[in-house]
C-alpha cells in the first residue's frame, strides 16, 4: 500500500454541509434542522485509506452518502479527480458512479432477499451496459472467486449465507465495476470478531491488487487505526481532528480524541484502566481513563461555539460562543480547539474556565 503524499487528491471535500429538515405542525412546515454534517472539509489521496471515526450520530455516514450523491448536499462541494461532482448530471454522473462504490454496514439488509447473489453482484454491469449475459456471468464468477466465494454460490439467495459471506457479496458487488474509490461504511461492525479479521485482510489485499482508495467509516478505533493511513475524528457534524494515523494515536490533541482513545477497553488485563474510584493505589501499567460526563447533545440544536464544550474537560468561556477554526497545530496535524491551536489561543488563555464537567 503506497500513499502518494504529494499527488493531487483523488477526492476533495470542501465545506460540506448537510441539514435534514424536521417537519411538524399543522402545515407540515420545516420547524427545525438536523445538522448532520456541519462544514466538513478533507481530501483523500489516491491509494490511501482515509478513516472517518466518531460515535453514532456524528455524521460520518452522512458524509459518505453525500459524497456519493446518494443524498443531496445542502452546501459545499465535492470533487473527484478534479471534477465537481455536485455540478455533474446525467451520463457524466452515471459514468463516474462506476468509479465510486460503497460497501454497507449491514450485510443482511443491503442485499435484496429475492435475488440470487449472482444477479446482485452483476446488476451493476447490466445497468452500465454490459448486455451480454455470458460476459456478465464470466465477470461475476471472476469477482466472486476473488473475494473468496465459490462460483456455484451465484445461484443461491442471500439468506443462505453467513454474515461474513454476505459481506463478501457486498464487496464483490462494489468491486465488479472496477472502481477507483470505495466508501466502506462500517463494513465489519456487524460481524463476529473471527470474521472481522478475514474481511479486513480481504479489503487490504484488494486495495493492494487494484490500487483502490478507501474512505473507511467506522466507530471502532482499533479497526480504523489498523486500516487507515490518515484519520479524521468527527463530533456532532464536524471534523475536530485530522492527522496521519501514527501521529493521531501518538499525540492526540483534541480533548474529544483523547477521551475517545482512552475509553476503548483494551484486550489486555494488565493495561486495565484506572478510574478515579480505584486509582489511589497508583498501580502500574494502566492507562488513565478520561470518562466524559453526559451524552452527545442532539444535532437538532447543537451547542453554540465549539460543539464539544458541554462535555469538554478544558472548556473555557470563549468555547461557548466562538467555534474554533480548523488549524494546523503541527505538521499535517489539524485540530479544531482553542486550547491547542488557532487564532484564539491567547483569548482562550485569558478566558475563565467553565465549571468542570469531567472525572479524570
Amino acid at each position: 500500500m503506497s500513499v502518494n503524499g504529494g499527488a493531487d487528491p483523488l477526492l476533495t471535500v470542501k465545506n460540506l454541509v448537510k441539514y435534514y429538515p424536521v417537519r411538524g405542525g399543522l402545515l407540515y412546515r420545516t420547524i427545525a434542522e438536523v445538522r448532520a454534517v456541519d462544514d466538513v472539509s478533507f481530501d483523500v489521496r489516491p491509494g490511501e485509506t482515509f478513516g472517518l471515526v466518531g460515535e453514532s450520530g456524528c455524521g460520518k455516514t452522512t458524509v459518505g452518502r453525500t459524497i456519493l450523491r446518494l443524498t443531496p448536499a445542502t452546501k459545499g462541494s465535492v470533487s473527484f479527480e478534479g471534477r465537481d461532482l455536485f455540478a455533474m448530471g446525467g451520463s457524466d454522473l452515471k459514468r463516474l458512479r462506476r468509479d465510486m462504490q460503497i460497501i454497507f454496514q449491514d450485510p443482511y439488509s443491503s442485499l435484496d432477499p429475492r435475488m440470487p447473489v449472482g444477479e446482485i453482484v452483476g446488476e451493476g454491469l447490466l445497468v452500465h451496459g454490459v448486455k451480454n449475459r455470458k460476459e456478465r456471468d464470466q465477470r461475476v464468477q471472476e469477482v466472486m472467486a476473488r473475494v473468496g466465494l465459490r462460483g456455484q454460490y451465484a445461484r443461491r439467495y442471500p439468506h443462505e449465507f453467513s454474515g461474513g459471506q454476505r459481506q463478501r457479496i457486498g464487496i464483490a458487488r462494489a468491486l465488479i465495476m472496477r472502481p477507483k474509490f470505495i466508501v466502506c461504511d462500517e463494513p465489519v461492525s456487524a460481524l463476529d470478531v473471527s470474521i472481522q479479521s478475514q474481511i479486513l485482510n480481504l479489503l487490504r489485499d484488494l486495495q493492494a491488487e487494484f490500487g483502490l482508495t478507501y474512505l473507511f467509516i467506522a466507530h471502532n478505533l482499533a479497526v480504523v487505526k489498523y486500516i487507515s493511513n490518515r484519520i479524521g475524528v468527527m463530533y456532532l457534524g464536524r471534523i475536530v481532528e485530522l492527522a496521519e494515523t501514527s501521529e493521531l494515536f501518538a499525540r492526540p490533541l483534541h480533548p474529544y480524541t483523547q477521551a475517545l482513545l482512552s475509553a476503548i477497553p483494551e484486550p489486555d488485563p494488565d493495561r486495565r484502566m484506572m478510574f478515579d474510584t480505584n486509582a489511589t493505589t497508583g498501580a502500574t501499567g494502566g492507562r488513565r481513563r478520561i470518562v466524559l460526563t453526559g451524552d452527545v447533545p442532539s444535532p437538532i440544536n447543537p451547542p453554540s461555539g465549539c460543539h464539544f464544550h458541554t462535555r469538554c474537560p478544558v472548556a473555557r468561556a470563549i468555547c461557548r460562543h466562538t467555534a474554533p477554526p480548523f488549524s494546523e497545530a503541527a505538521s499535517r496535524h489539524h485540530v479544531a480547539c482553542h486550547a491547542v491551536a488557532g487564532p484564539h489561543q491567547a483569548e482562550y488563555s485569558a478566558s475563565p474556565a467553565l465549571t468542570g464537567s469531567l472525572t479524570r
Partner: protein, 343 residues
C-alpha cells in the same frame, strides 16, 4: 459434572451451574444451543462468558433466569443459587426470585423497557413485586436508585418515559431496576454493546463501582474481549454450545491454551497491532448447531487438528489453578499424532 478440588468452598459460591444442557426442538431438528456447561461464581466476583454469536452464551444466561420458552427447554443440569436449585422450583417460586435474588440486564435497553410506563413506575413495580413496602416507599427507593446509577435530577426523571432518555440513560435505568432489590447475582448480557464507546466507559465504570459496593456476583456476557479484560476476574470462553476454556483473566490473555482462544485473541486488531502486518485469521465459520460434527466442534477450523479430533469430542481437562480446557492437545490420555500429521 461434580465439583472439582480446585473449586471454591461452597459457602462462598453464589451461583453454580452444573451440566447445563438447553436444547431447542425445532422443525428442522434439535439445536443443542447449550450442551454441557459448568461454572461457578463467588461473592464479589465477575465471571466473563465470551464467545461469538450463536455460541450459547445468551441461552446460558436465559436458562439461569428460567426464561427459556418453547421450542427451547433445559433438558439437563442444575442451577444452584446459594444452594437452591432453580430448576427444581415452581414457576411461582421462581417469580419471587427473579428480579430479587438474581437479576438481569439486557443488551438493548429500549426493547427491554415498557414504552407506555414511566421509568420510575417500572422500577417501583419491581420493588413492589418483591417487597412488602408501600407505594410511596417504593417510589422513594426508586428515586434513590436512579440517583445511585448517576441519572441527573432523579426526582424529575422518575416521570420520564423511556423514549425521552438516551441509550446510555436507559441502560442506567435498567441497571437501577435490576439492582433495586439488592440481588446476590447480576447477569449482564452485552450491557454495553449497543452503546457508544464514551458511554460504554461510563456504564462499565458504574457497574464496577456498584459491584464494589454491593459485593454481588456478576456474570458478564459479551463478545468484546476488551470489555472482558477490563471487568472480569475469571473468563469462560464458549464455542458452539460448550465451554472450551476457563481461566483467570491474566492466564487467559497471557497464555491461552485452547486453539480457539488463541486464534480469537490473535485476530482482533487492537491499538497495539502493527498496521503493516496482516491480521491472524481463524479460517472458516462456526458449525451449524443442527448438524454438529461427532468430534471436536472446533476441529474443522483448528490448525492442530488430527484424526482423533474429528472422531471424538474432547473432554474438559483440568489443568490446575482453576484452568480448564477442552482440547485433545492438552489431554494426557490422548495419544498425539506424529509431528508430520499435526501440521
Amino acid at each position: 459434572m461434580t465439583a472439582t478440588a480446585s473449586d471454591p468452598p461452597a459457602d462462598e459460591v453464589m451461583l453454580r451451574v452444573s451440566g447445563l444442557r438447553t436444547h431447542f426442538f425445532t422443525a428442522d431438528g434439535v439445536v443443542r444451543a447449550v450442551d454441557g456447561v459448568d461454572f461457578a461464581i463467588r461473592r464479589g466476583e465477575t465471571l466473563g462468558l465470551v464467545g461469538e454469536s450463536g455460541c450459547g452464551k445468551s441461552v446460558t444466561s436465559l436458562s439461569v433466569m428460567r426464561l427459556i420458552t418453547p421450542p427451547g427447554r433445559v433438558v439437563e443440569g442444575e442451577i444452584g443459587l446459594e444452594g437452591t436449585n432453580l430448576l427444581a422450583l415452581s414457576e411461582e417460586e421462581m417469580y419471587s426470585i427473579r428480579g430479587n435474588r438474581v437479576s438481569m440486564i439486557f443488551q438493548e435497553p429500549m426493547t427491554s423497557l415498557n414504552p407506555v410506563f414511566t421509568v420510575g413506575d417500572q422500577i417501583s413495580e419491581a420493588i413492589l413485586t418483591h417487597e412488602k413496602v408501600s407505594a410511596e416507599q417504593a417510589k422513594k427507593r426508586a428515586i434513590e436508585m436512579l440517583g445511585l446509577v448517576g441519572i441527573p435530577q432523579p426526582q424529575q426523571r422518575y416521570n420520564a418515559y423511556p423514549h425521552e432518555l438516551s441509550g446510555g440513560m436507559r441502560q442506567r435505568v435498567m441497571i437501577a431496576m435490576a439492582l433495586s432489590c439488592s440481588p446476590r447475582v447480576l447477569i449482564a448480557d452485552e450491557p454495553t454493546t449497543a452503546l457508544d464507546v464514551t458511554i460504554q466507559a461510563q456504564i462499565l465504570e458504574l457497574l464496577k463501582d456498584l459491584k464494589e459496593r454491593t459485593r454481588m456476583a456478576l456474570l458478564l456476557i459479551t463478545h468484546d474481549l476488551g470489555v472482558v479484560a477490563e471487568m472480569c476476574d475469571h473468563v469462560a470462553v464458549m464455542y458452539a454450545g460448550q465451554i472450551v476454556e476457563q481461566a483467570d483473566i491474566h492466564n487467559l490473555f497471557k497464555n491461552p491454551k485452547h486453539p480457539y482462544t488463541q486464534g480469537l485473541l490473535a485476530s482482533i486488531p487492537t491499538l497495539a497491532t502493527q498496521t503493516d502486518t496482516r491480521l491472524n485469521v481463524i479460517q472458516g465459520t462456526v458449525p451449524n448447531l443442527l448438524r454438529l460434527p461427532p468430534g471436536c466442534r472446533f476441529a474443522a477450523r483448528c490448525p492442530y487438528a488430527w484424526d482423533t479430533c474429528l472422531e471424538t469430542n474432547p473432554r474438559l481437562i483440568d489443568l490446575g489453578d482453576g484452568r480448564r480446557v477442552r482440547c485433545h492437545v492438552h489431554d494426557p490420555d490422548v495419544p498425539k499424532p506424529a509431528p508430520a500429521v499435526a501440521t
